[in-house]
Symmetry: C2
Subunit: 409 residues, 2 copies
């Protein structure tokens, strides 16, 4: 007889992330940290910029020299010097004086603002007319205006984007301490599963989950390591799990569909060294028969065999654990969900959280989410879908025209 | 004197993508194609599944054997055999007969549906009571129901996600023809720019753009190749551009701020072998002084020196070109934009397209976009921003509470 699961609520499962230790950290050159998770807080070692810079091509001057200037009554200024790019000017700009400056040039002592070249006219080599008055600080980045010395720049636990890396470059960071990418073992089980380079006999199917899960692990910041297929053999599965656990940070076992394999999986997970079963069944659909064990302080997952179920469970359950051990601070990351208008009613059972595959459609009045119909065992529903919507356990469904948030797939 | 640009409308610039040839294609093993762009149309070589499969644990039978069955008046069925996982059953199920089957098992001849084990009770080893009637096809995936033989699976020009790779695994594709990742050279110019491992003297700044652009190239599917910094030296810049062009598919030159370098850049771009200037100025802000040349049939970009301007231009102008030469079919990809409610008025000038940096804030009533204030030369505005919104050239701004679409940064 099929056993009944004592399912755990999704929210309670997700609270278990902190049970697991974070991965080690490593020091990498700055050109290799894109997408990595920062493992230290970074503060500004100096002001940025370190000197006042012009944001325009024009003339640096004392703003007061231009007060009241207009097209009809321009201010006349004496042009002294040119600021050379990449050099500190060694002269002083007094009242009624100006010096040529390019975007990014350092303001000379005495000057406090820049007038754009478009608002001036050269009368001769040493005199300009200025048609606009500028305010002190105009067209200037003050020293420390971008980031003041000792100010916080980036925080431990945040993923590094291009602009964050640019910021670190600005301060001369050549290396950075980041979290190592978690190594995630992937194991397929089931007598009916054959490797993709084999021709399945009638009754057999190729191993899809090793590929979908590897892709999801990589997208989630991990390094997928496939451990192949284990047939319905208790000892072989136990040995393979032990081996995999020794060289990975997390293990995903996508369940064979045969009842035998399924029974073994839970037994084996509880018999692994230093193991305990934390979750046996989650109140979500698809994905109820999901198992979470802790063995050697690592998360070991028993995932459904159906490719669609396994992918949904990875997205909504496994991935937060992967991101946690990868060093992400749960609050530091904004999960990218896309608001969209539901284009038909979706029903759901109370007492479990349903995840519905949807396509996103751009129409003239905004973005719509169209549920992808079809049996949950069909991979075509995942291929046609752009994302998932969550229907809460306390509701009976979502009405057409409701705004839903789509988790991208 | 500063020259005036004859700016091109953003839409017209983007129509130039097809001027450039696509990258070469290459054949890769299936475990290396995540995120790559497919270079061939794929059709199903056989039915998927190849045989009718059960989607539940239970009993395969003829649906008509259960018609009228209920808790009060169960159907009695004779249990013959068990379907072994991974094997083709060699027996026939007739009226009043049933055989044990697991999820994923192959339906035996004669059977057309599966009753879930939960809806049955075993009376003895060979007889069950069945409490529900099932319809023909219930709990069964028919042969070809997921994808029929010769049906279209995936299209040339689409990026490969985890589920797409799973689909290819299901059909036994071990290798795949995809587009090569474009190699993008990155060159920084400007007398004031020093490498990040140097301590800038007063008036100098470190080379930020090489890092931000490299990150953006990688995020856009390219392989960034930094060519370092060229000081304000016409011949050196020409030589470096020639070198870079010979071994890349696209070249990004982020503009030195000095007027001299800027003047050289446009001259050099027109003097490169087989070169023509396609765009000199784009009607966007920030980013107006952007240059696009075609040299040796490759796109060569002159980008603004300001890090924020260069990043915005990359996102809205360069990236579509990168994606095009990388093989993406412009229609095949849904650009991920996040609808959000604007939390304050944003003004803009008519006649140019403004890109405003915004932060995304999740509030109880949905997602809000908050403009990030601060001078455009400040990198902190990019670090604080989650995305960009576009204010169309024909409007004077966006009102508070309008729904805007945020391009993620």
């Amino acid at each position: 007889m099929k056993g009944f699961f004592k399912v755990t609520d999704l929210k309670q499962v997700l609270e278990l992330v902190t049970v697991f230790p974070r991965c080690r950290t490593e020091i990498l050159p700055l050109d290799q940290v894109l997408g990595r998770i920062l493992a230290e807080d970074i503060t500004a070692p100096h002001n940025l910029p370190e000197f006042p810079r012009s944001t325009m091509d024009g003339f640096a001057l004392q703003a007061s020299s231009t007060f009241g200037a207009s097209e009809g009554s321009p201010a006349f200024l004496t042009v002294k010097h040119t600021v050379a790019m990449g050099a500190a000017p060694v002269f002083f700009i007094g009242p009624g004086e100006a010096c040529r400056i390019s975007t990014g040039g350092m303001l000379p002592a005495g000057s406090d603002s820049v007038v754009m070249i478009e608002h001036t006219e050269a009368l001769d080599d040493t005199t300009i007319e200025c048609y606009r008055s500028v305010a002190p600080g105009q067209h200037v980045l003050e020293a420390g205006e971008d980031f003041p010395k000792n100010g916080g720049l980036l925080q431990k636990g945040q993923p590094l984007r291009s602009q964050d890396i640019g910021l670190l470059a600005a301060f001369g960071y050549q290396t950075l301490r980041v979290y190592a990418r978690p190594v995630v073992g992937i194991l397929s089980t089931g007598d009916e599963v054959v490797a993709i380079d084999q021709t399945p006999s009638p009754g057999q199917i190729r191993d899809i989950n090793s590929f979908t899960l590897a892709g999801q692990v990589a997208d989630g910041g991990g390094i997928p390591v496939p451990f192949g297929i284990v047939q319905d053999d208790r000892d072989a599965l136990y040995e393979k799990c032990r081996q995999a656990l020794d060289c990975t940070d997390m293990l995903l076992i996508s369940g064979g569909s045969s009842v035998g394999t399924r029974d073994y999986t839970i037994e084996i997970l509880s018999e692994l060294p230093a193991s305990s079963i934390l979750v046996h069944g989650v109140s979500i659909r698809p994905g109820k028969p999901t198992i979470l064990a802790r063995a050697q302080n690592k998360a070991v997952w028993g995932l459904p065999g159906h490719v669609t179920s396994a992918m949904v469970v990875f997205t909504v359950v496994v991935r937060p654990f992967l991101e946690y051990i990868a060093g992400r601070e749960p609050g530091a990351t904004k999960q990218l969900k896309i608001p969209a208008r539901l284009d038909r009613n979706v029903s759901s059972a109370q007492g479990r959280t349903d995840f519905i595959r949807v396509r996103l459609l751009r129409k003239s009045d905004g973005i719509w989410a169209e549920p992808v119909l079809g049996k949950s065992g069909l991979i075509n529903t995942m291929v046609r879908a752009d994302g998932l919507i969550e229907v809460d356990r306390d509701t009976e469904g979502c009405d057409k025209d409701t705004i839903v948030e789509v988790i991208p797939l």
